[in-house]
């Protein structure tokens, strides 16, 4: 149809104007794509984190989060050691209907070869049942009742330049209680900061900290995912002084936050697009005025108002399409560069610290905020069609004006 060739050739004839007009849309669309990709990146990361939370349905810990003194978690090291629970709670929790298995855990802040890490003492068999185990990439997980064995995160291994089978010294507190452990396995989570951690057996952990008979967390696996929230509320109402965390609830919370962020970012992008659309309106009105005579001729030779409308709508649609296309391209490049731009900020966020619940720490949130943008086909489709849509909407009024022109008057126009 001649509608398209007319529209396309007019844009080609005024290349600079077309480019400048489209660039208004490019700014909005590329911004939109970066922001949406950032949110997608956060979503991916949130899912990773929750998976890395250990796979337990419920985590029970002391409601007064941290012990003073012991471990003395530094600002750049591991978290302060958590408060303990009496191991007898284990039986109480294990006896609640709907609970499939419980796994005690003793976590504390220690240092390996002088490097602060979070150390988890677990009962290997129970830990594997409840959490479905660590992702071991080298060697094996701790043997039952082994003693003297340690499993380290891949990032930590690389940081300390360690190899499987080597002996490392683990110390706790300023007094310097120290013991040697043999590295039997290496795990990977994909989340760097979660790999600055070590796993030893529960009894070793209790020995080295002198806290026999107590645990810091109880990991719970339920018989069915549907009973998780019920079990969680039973635990918090029947066991005094505990805090109950359900990763699914955390994920829900994270999703809620992400939705809010998406809305916020989308609003920013839309405002930019809105501003860009005025450029399109302006250009189209100019184009209509310039071509008044052409409109008159087209009407004289039989074009209906609808035909004129189509020509100008096609033109602004093409501007939107160009703006959307270039915007997606520019946005993709910027989203790709984005992590490099923020890497300086991230280097502090990536300092070795390990934690089990990344959502309770400000530092983790920071890492979370600087997520790597993830460009999904949906994001591209949204941004591209948004560009085209803005083009059409911005063209409506100028096209309507063009279509309403009286042929005789339009023909008289010089």
């Amino acid at each position: 149809m001649f509608t398209w060739s007319l529209a396309a050739r007019n844009l080609k004839r005024r290349k600079l104007r077309t480019a400048l007009t489209a660039s208004g849309i490019v700014v909005g669309i590329s911004m939109m794509l970066i922001l949406l990709s950032l949110v997608s990146g956060m979503e991916v990361q949130a899912r990773h984190m929750v998976r890395a939370l250990g796979g337990a349905d419920i985590t029970v810990s002391n409601s007064t989060s941290f012990r003073g003194g012991v471990g003395g978690g530094g600002f750049f090291g591991a978290l302060p050691s958590p408060s303990t629970l009496d191991a007898s709670i284990l039986d109480v929790v294990g006896g609640i209907p709907g609970v499939y298995a419980v796994s005690p855990q003793f976590s504390f802040s220690g240092s390996i070869n002088g490097r602060r890490v979070t150390v988890y003492g677990v009962v290997p068999s129970l830990y594997e049942v409840v959490t479905s185990g660590l992702n071991i990439v080298e060697g094996r997980f701790l043997a039952e009742d082994s003693g003297g064995e340690i499993v380290l995160g891949k990032a930590l291994m690389e940081l300390l330049n360690l190899t499987l089978g080597q002996t490392v010294s683990l110390s706790v507190g300023q007094e310097g209680v120290e013991r040697n452990f043999t590295i039997v396995g290496v795990f990977e989570t994909g989340m760097l900061f979660q790999e600055y951690a070590a796993y030893i057996t529960l009894s070793d952990a209790q020995d080295i900290t002198g806290e026999r008979g107590s645990v810091t967390q109880i990991l719970v696996k339920c018989e069915d995912p549907s009973v998780v929230s019920d079990v969680a509320s039973i635990i918090s109402s029947t066991v005094p002084g505990v805090r109950v965390i359900t990763p699914t609830a955390v994920l829900q919370q994270a999703n809620q936050m992400l939705n809010t962020l998406t809305m916020f970012f989308a609003t920013i992008g839309l405002v930019a697009l809105f501003a860009g659309s005025f450029g399109v309106i302006n250009t189209m009105i100019m184009s209509v005025t310039e071509r008044t005579r052409e409109i008159g001729v087209l009407k004289a030779i039989g074009a209906k108002s609808r035909d004129i409308m189509k020509v100008f709508l096609a033109e602004s649609f093409l501007i939107g399409l160009i703006g959307g296309g270039v915007g997606v391209a520019v946005g993709s490049v910027l989203a790709y560069i984005f992590p490099m731009l923020t890497s300086g900020l991230l280097s502090t966020g990536f300092s070795p610290f390990g934690m089990r619940n990344p959502f309770s720490s400000g530092r983790a949130t920071q890492t979370f905020m600087f997520a790597t943008p993830t460009i999904t086909p949906t994001n591209i489709a949204i941004c591209f069609s948004l560009g085209a849509l803005v083009g059409v909407l911005a063209g409506l009024y100028p096209a309507w004006r063009a279509s309403r022109m009286k042929p005789v008057e339009a023909l008289r126009h010089v």
């Binding site: 052409e294 030779i301 039989g302 209906k304 023909l411």
Partner: protein
């Protein structure tokens, strides 16, 4: 005996210029037979173009009726009027008014595209029309690559695209040298003889006037046979 193709009955057109009413046409009656070449002459501002615009359905009279092939076009709505312009009449303007971004061939194709003729057929017909006006080798040229005479011939090809029964031309030779004007007029005569199209030509040009079958003169909004 040819049949009547255009009949204008007590046609008046009054423009409002600010607070003053200007009478462009005053009670004009006109009858055009099918196959005639009508020349309309008169001083500028006498209402020639207004009459042409009214017959062409570009404007509406203040009073009076215009019957084309028995249909009162003054009673048509905007859409039907557009359709009338598309199929029944062809326009030729003084300054050619080709679409500058389109080639000669595409310019001729526009009315057919508007009428919904399929691409292949309209290509073929447009080429034939360009051949008819002697410009088949200029088909892919843009208007600014053509001379005035060539542009006007493309405009005539465009006016004939949907095979209209009437071609309305407003000073078609006004911007042409006498040689091009002569060539254009012999083309019009030729087309008229071959296809039987009716031409109504507003002109000052004696070259045109000499070749019309009938001449009318408009003066102060009133028409008279010359």
């Amino acid at each position: 005996m040819s049949k009547t193709i255009v009949r204008a009955i007590s046609l008046s057109k009054v423009y409002r210029r600010g607070k003053v009413n200007v009478t462009a046409l005053n009670n004009v009656n006109l009858q055009v037979l099918s196959g005639e070449i009508i020349g309309i002459m008169g001083p500028s501002g006498s209402g020639k173009t207004t009459l042409l615009n009214l017959i062409g359905g570009l404007d509406k009279p203040t009073s009076g009726k215009i019957f084309v092939d028995g249909v009162d076009i003054t009673a048509l709505g905007e859409k039907d009027l557009a359709d009338y312009r598309l199929r029944k009449v062809g326009f030729v303007f003084q300054f050619y008014n080709l679409i500058p971004t389109l080639t000669a061939l595409e310019n001729v194709e526009i009315p057919m595209a508007l009428a919904g003729v399929l691409k292949k057929e309209r290509r073929e017909r447009a080429l034939n029309l360009l051949k008819m006006v002697g410009l088949e080798d200029r088909a892919d040229h843009k208007p600014d690559e053509l001379s005035g005479g060539e542009q006007q011939r493309v405009a005539i090809a465009r006016a004939l695209a949907n095979n209209p029964s009437i071609v309305l031309a407003d000073e078609p030779t006004g911007d042409l040298d006498s040689k091009s004007a002569l060539a254009l007029m012999s083309l019009i005569k030729d087309l008229n003889k071959r296809n039987g199209q009716t031409f109504i030509i507003v002109t000052h040009d004696p070259i045109v006037a000499e070749r019309c079958t009938k001449i009318y003169t408009i003066r102060d909004g009133r028409i008279e046979m010359a």
